[in-house]
Symmetry: C2
Subunit: 306 residues, 2 copies
């Protein structure tokens, strides 16, 4: 029965919209039926699937990397923007802009192989604790979203992450935390180089950005990686608006959802003032674009995974 | 029993190597066991999954596109390299080099949306006939490979295409012919642009190359799209050597296969002289790199899908 579905979602318009949409696109012979191969759902990660305050996890990971790098090159501690990372100087980090700040964080990953990076990222994730929430980062994932991802997959959807976060960092936990395999994770990336070390091929991470997966670049990367227009997209910032509009522009039924962080008590309340990933246009024009706004406060019975 | 497996493969070293490898990596508790999420198999397309002689299908499709474009711009027929395509002038096409020739073919796709391209490609595939084999292009796929793809998937592998061919053209038939969904197709690509037409978001194909998915770029795109090292890779030219070596450089069991076109009677016999995609180094050094060579003549009971 309906109340068994999505147990961490409160009854209300957001949950109804999801359940109604899934019922329509999976009803064989119905006007809105979509065959499973085309049931593509794309989710932003930071702020949509897990907490992004006071900064995206990428920056805390970069901080740990910087501490390791500064052991070899102590001068790094005094160079900007690394100094700002090490001192958790949010104002200076924000002054770089979203792409500039992420690029600086990614710079700490250059020069290692993809396999080395994966091992380092997993080690960090296994021990690092969120500075405000006091729990491991992987337990800062949102329980209602974990349920939604599973619910969609149980109805034949393929679930993808399409995030500005670094693709390799997300791949180090997306399978375990979200049930999303590496090849369904799309994110910002550094270029790589084919390199032979002791007769073995390794892929080396370079300092040059491959793509910064934000705004219109999200739709470009969806076209490149997935090759289909999503029928469901879920985001939480203006960086997701292009993807939400892309989903809503399909010929058949579609659903675009926008998480509004309006719950200072259980998580954080913010939108337009979060400079690293503001929510302004998507919220102001949600109705114009057919986007359903999800209120964390109203629509979620619980917030974090237990 | 063993003889029921891969019925279009002859008994012999190639078939034995495949069956032995799959048995080892799927035997729970065995030394070579690989969990399903890591059972990644990558296949080249042109010359590996379907026929690439006398030219890759991409060029026959470009020919059809050029005829349509020349109706609006008759001068195109006299401009190189398009003149060479229209006249099936293999020598001039080959003189462009592999990347140059493909880039010229891709140029005929610029200016349309991804959805428009898909419709045009499907229409072409539904009617076009291979000039030498006299059958639809989609029936120039190799039956032993269709069986191998299905056999791997039945054993928990995920099968990917990693090809120099255009990603969107392959996506127009890969699901139907190979059982490979769009998001598991990697290929060469043009950049795209987010565009709003009559209030709807479309992704427009540009003339600028995103990546030419050949040689080391194949391994870069595997790292980007899949985010895991393949444990099985199958190719047929020097353009696949980087991918084959990448697979063979993993820490666990791996299998790299190289199809040698040595069957002039049933298909074509060629290797180093095919200028658009020569096979020289990979064949000469197969043993050095631990690559198993598959002889079309010796190892395949039948060649094309019925």
């Amino acid at each position: 029965m309906a109340s068994d579905l999505l147990p961490s979602w409160n009854s209300g318009p957001a949950r109804d919209a999801i359940i109604d949409f899934v019922a329509r696109v999976t009803r064989e012979g119905g006007a809105d039926f979509v065959r499973p191969a085309e049931r593509i759902a794309t989710f932003d990660n930071d702020g949509t699937l897990w907490c992004e305050q006071p900064l995206q996890a990428q920056f805390f990971f970069a901080d740990a990397r910087l501490k390791a790098l500064a052991e070899k090159d102590p001068g790094m501690k005094e160079r900007q923007p690394f100094k700002a990372f090490l001192e958790h100087d949010l104002k200076t980090i924000a002054s770089l802009g979203k792409q500039g700040a992420f690029e600086a964080a990614f710079a700490t990953h250059a020069g290692m192989t993809v396999d080395e990076f994966d091992a380092i990222a997993r080690e960090w994730l296994a021990t690092a604790v969120h500075p405000k929430l006091g729990r491991p980062f992987t337990r800062c994932a949102y329980q209602p979203q974990i349920e939604l991802l599973a619910y969609l997959r149980a109805h034949g959807f393929k679930t993808f992450i399409v995030s500005g976060g670094g693709i390799d960092l997300m791949r180090a936990f997306a399978e375990e935390v979200y049930g999303i395999p590496n090849e369904q994770v799309i994110g910002s990336s550094l270029k790589t180089r084919f390199e032979v070390r002791d007769g073995r091929v390794e892929m080396l991470k370079l300092s040059e950005l491959g793509s910064f997966d934000d705004r219109e670049v999200k739709t470009q990367n969806i076209a490149l990686h997935i090759g289909r227009r999503p029928i469901l997209a879920f985001g939480n910032s203006d960086g997701d608006l292009a993807m939400l509009r892309y989903a809503k522009s399909g010929k058949g039924a579609s659903l675009a959802l926008l998480l509004h962080h309006d719950d200072a008590e259980r998580e954080f309340a913010y939108d337009r003032e979060f400079r690293l990933s503001p929510l302004v246009d998507a919220l102001d024009h949600a109705a114009d674009y057919g986007i359903d706004v999800v209120s964390m406060k109203r629509d979620w019975k619980s917030v974090f995974v237990p």
